[in-house]
Symmetry: C2
Subunit: 343 residues, 2 copies
Amino acid sequence: MARLEGRRQAPTIKVVAAAAGVSTATVSRVFSRPHLLRESTVAHVTEIARELGYRPSHTARALSTGRLGMIAVVVPDIANPFFPPVIRAAQAHAGAGGVSTVVGDTDEDPAKELDLLAELERRTDGVVLVSSRLPEEQVREIAARGHPLVLVNRDVRGVPRILVDSAPGIREAVDHLAGLGHRHLAYISGPAGSWSDEQRRVALRARCAELGITATVLRPHRPEHDEGRAAAAEVLATGATAAIAFDDGLAQGVLAGMAESGVAVPAEISIVGCDDILAATTYPPLTTVHGRGGEAGRLAVELLMELVERPGGERDRRVLLPSHLVTRSSSAPAPAAPAAPRR
Amino acid sequence: MARLEGRRQAPTIKVVAAAAGVSTATVSRVFSRPHLLRESTVAHVTEIARELGYRPSHTARALSTGRLGMIAVVVPDIANPFFPPVIRAAQAHAGAGGVSTVVGDTDEDPAKELDLLAELERRTDGVVLVSSRLPEEQVREIAARGHPLVLVNRDVRGVPRILVDSAPGIREAVDHLAGLGHRHLAYISGPAGSWSDEQRRVALRARCAELGITATVLRPHRPEHDEGRAAAAEVLATGATAAIAFDDGLAQGVLAGMAESGVAVPAEISIVGCDDILAATTYPPLTTVHGRGGEAGRLAVELLMELVERPGGERDRRVLLPSHLVTRSSSAPAPAAPAAPRR
DNA sequence: TGCTCGCGTGCAACCGGTTGCACGTCAAGT
DNA sequence: ACTTGACGTGCAACCGGTTGCACGCGAGCA
């Protein structure tokens, strides 16, 4: 029964102190505020600690300082390819600052989002909330609870936020298509109430108006492949020679829908996506508006860390990240006549 | 400057105890081992705690019990659509048990994986390691550190593991194609050294041999779209009338490559994927072997929780999850003659 | 020589729970 | 009536660090 040979317990500050012949306070300071100590002391204790394999306990530290050394990134759907770059960038940036990152997935469900946020507030020093599906009112309430919070792609006044500004990219897209001779564009709307969707729609309308070309806005769509496939017919019905979709997933669906209808992309109709989350994995490779999710993630963490350091800091930061068009092969000169389904 | 009206501190066990006229020990027991207490006491304290909005502190609890109430799921690439279902299922199952889940992304980098695991061991009660890219030797070492660990899709003896067994699905796929009249199949290999790849390759060869049809195995490919596109030409060069790809991403690339070459799928060649991670988002919708990532995630967490409860438990559990074929539209009867590129 | 001052370190309380042990109470057993 | 024991609760130590305060020492200054 003697299990003495078992797992060696992780050494505590106490055994390091004893081994180094100093008090636990000194060991503690070596790892948290070494500038208060004589250099030789720091060196000595560090050496002993290294030999013993000592690592300060996050838990104990958290208990006395109130700092968990951990932040959260919450997204609506981890499987949506827009988010992984955001998460990854956040993770990398936080890690560089000695802070761990946890990822939360709300499954596109506002109720889950609420619960998750409550839980994460107790587990982390701060939260990056990406594309929240909560009503603005609730976002405000959450922010008011005082736990550091930074939003991404959600524009709520009084809450620090990073916004990918689709407008420049959309304008470029419209210019690009107009330059190819298209005189009638369709916009395939995303989820009703989405901040990004509204921004894109408005930018598209405005630019089309400036250039004097026609813009038809289709009904809202969930950003999913099937919806895009269905939207293909709607696009053809408008007589537009080019369509811009709310996001790449939708655009990919449209591509499939066009293929099914026997309409050639880009020869007969041009398709443009948004977010650049599919890279060149579609056929034909998709012309799209690059969303810069990575930068957004990095900046959000940066802002969040500031808030964690100084809870009194600026609460109304609003950062806009301009987007831009990436031209691939799903856009081409306008055909002589609008396309029509062939089968 | 009087900030007294500021944030109300979260109430501690002490204030609840005082308000309820009991000791802190009692309050503690109400929340951890209520069966030790008289029912009326539990009810009374619970009520007071509710009024005060008291929630036990994870940190403090962790310090005295050594249980963090958190587990980790580590994946090589959060952007690879195979993993989100695994993660989500794990999250759901752990959450139901009152345990939080952290997601780690190793970016396909073994060095990062090693660091991340070390960090997570100190932050969690246990780790689910999915599709580890580490050499078996290292996986063993990590398991030997005694921190509860469950592998998914990695078959290392002596470490509890959940394996998606592709063999049944592959056999079904071969049978399906053979039934459609195909007499020559190509297998587009995945990453060299991947456990899943080897399993799929072996199963395919074996089943083809049994049915007396030809199997050509192509070189290893990274599981990415571009590689698949390139592989299309290799497939055509073999003269096979059907191809099974290591995963859906690769298969999707092959689809694009075939489209570029003007070869019709499935009329001229049939394509089958693995993992069923793209659902019906390809064109044509992909016939594929369903991987059951979700179940794997759920089971892994279940096993892990057991290990956390009883560190002395069974260390060599090995669970196999059978896969099966999902037939969509990328497979069809064999053409009279093998396809050749048209452009 | 005596006084001040600053630096480096230690003491001990504290963060917010958990838990072994002891104590008091009350019902059942003899 | 007295012992026994189960049950419910409290006391206080403990988990592993952090930190305000005090103390001792040596240098600088008058």
